[in-house]
């Protein structure tokens, strides 16, 4: 049963509630319940964090390598260069998010303007 497989108006909302709301809030509720009971540096939590981090990083990789919408019409090399140099700018600037994001955006727009 995929998101678009049913004609019923409520199906997408149920899909969001089950696959989105329940899937995220279960962890928030567990966090309140366990708050203070489990050590933050326990090995289990480190594993949980690295898996979650790798998964979100995989999302980032896909958004840059296989983007949708208007970004899909830009060249692969331009996207990689903009993201990589933006990340370098973020590191060099002492982990300033704004610098990293602004650099990547500037390079992407400059590249589009120059028809890369």
């Amino acid at each position: 049963m995929s998101y678009f497989s049913s004609g019923a108006w409520w199906w997408p909302y149920l899909f969001i509630l089950v696959a989105g709301f329940a899937a995220t809030d279960i962890w928030r509720f567990l966090g309140v319940y366990l708050g203070g009971k489990l050590s933050e540096d326990s090995d289990l939590l480190v594993l949980v964090r690295t898996m979650a981090t790798a998964l979100v990083a995989a999302v980032i990789g896909n958004l840059i390598v296989f983007p949708g919408g208007a970004l899909a019409h830009t060249s692969f090399g331009l996207r990689i260069a903009a993201a990589a140099l933006g990340f370098v700018a973020y590191l060099v600037s002492g982990k300033r998010m704004v610098v990293g994001i602004a650099t990547a955006e500037f390079l992407l727009l400059a590249g589009l303007y120059l028809n890369f």
Binding site: W27, T50, A54, V59, G69, I101, A104
Partner: protein, 267 residues
């Protein structure tokens, strides 16, 4: 993410703010009414991290529209899920035609990180008479941005006003971004393609920098790099479950290296 603490000239990470200075500040404000603290939380939502978050939700609106999610569904998703990485995973699963259980599994895995975040934040907000139910309600607002802001600023709020402050902060962030998603969705088609492309670039860059900055241990950085590479690789090899596989393999390898480094250090 580091921030200079003016009072002591020391560099303190987010979440470990300068106790001495903040203690003295909130004691003097302890008599302020509840509404003052609620509005303080509202104001905190319009800070730099809050503005970066808005720009990322602009990107999300474009993403959701591209995947065929309607404007009402996108707004509903923003309010009910309220964790941008999980929402992007969900939209990704929707776009790839994943079945409900597969989508739920991927989102569940992506949201695990919320648990340790809440575990760290909840004790900060618990004060004397704070009811457990209030904490469960407020936990819904926990996502990267509100968490970073709260860990940094709650120290300056009197303990019995912290839930009020966080309600103002979290409530404003959610409400603002539901509006942002709705408005951007409506105007997305009218934008020049270069602007749309730039909007779609906001989300990955915001995630990349905030993920890197919030990593607690080196393993987090290893996991980020592995995920960045494995995501696209498995997108080609196993398109239906690419995120899950990349997360499980990348996370396990990063954890293995973490254990080995520790063993080497101990030996």
């Amino acid at each position: 993410m580091e921030r200079r603490c003016a009072a002591f000239g020391a560099v303190a990470s987010y979440g470990r703010a300068c106790y001495g200075r903040h203690m003295s500040t909130w004691i003097s404000d302890a008599t302020a009414p509840r509404s003052t603290w609620f509005l303080g939380g509202v104001r905190a939502a319009f800070s730099l991290p809050g503005l970066i978050l808005i720009s990322s939700f602009i990107g999300f609106a474009a993403l959701a529209k591209g995947a065929g999610v309607t404007v009402v569904q996108a707004a509903f998703m923003t309010a009910t899920v309220w964790a941008l990485p999980s929402m992007v995973v969900l939209v990704g699963a929707i776009a790839s035609g994943a079945a409900l259980p597969a989508a739920m599994f991927a989102v569940t895995l992506s949201a695990i990180r919320l648990m340790p975040m809440v575990m760290a934040l909840a004790p900060e907000m618990r004060a004397g008479k704070t009811r457990q139910g209030v904490l469960y309600l407020l936990a819904h607002f926990v996502a990267v941005t509100s968490w970073v802001l709260a860990m940094e600023r709650l120290k300056r709020v009197p303990p019995h006003m912290r839930t009020t402050y966080y309600a103002g902060l979290g409530g404003t962030l959610v409400t603002t971004n539901v509006i942002v998603v709705t408005v951007v969705y409506a105007v997305a088609d009218a934008l020049p393609s270069a602007v749309s492309a730039a909007l779609l670039m906001l989300t990955p860059m915001y995630f990349l920098t905030s993920l890197w900055g919030s990593a607690r241990e080196r393993a987090g950085h290893v996991a980020t790099v592995l995920g960045l590479v494995l995501g696209p690789v498995f997108h080609i090899v196993l398109p239906q479950i690419d995120l899950l596989v990349a997360g499980l393999i990348g996370g396990t390898v990063a954890y293995g290296l973490h254990l080995r480094r520790r063993k080497v250090r101990v030996a």
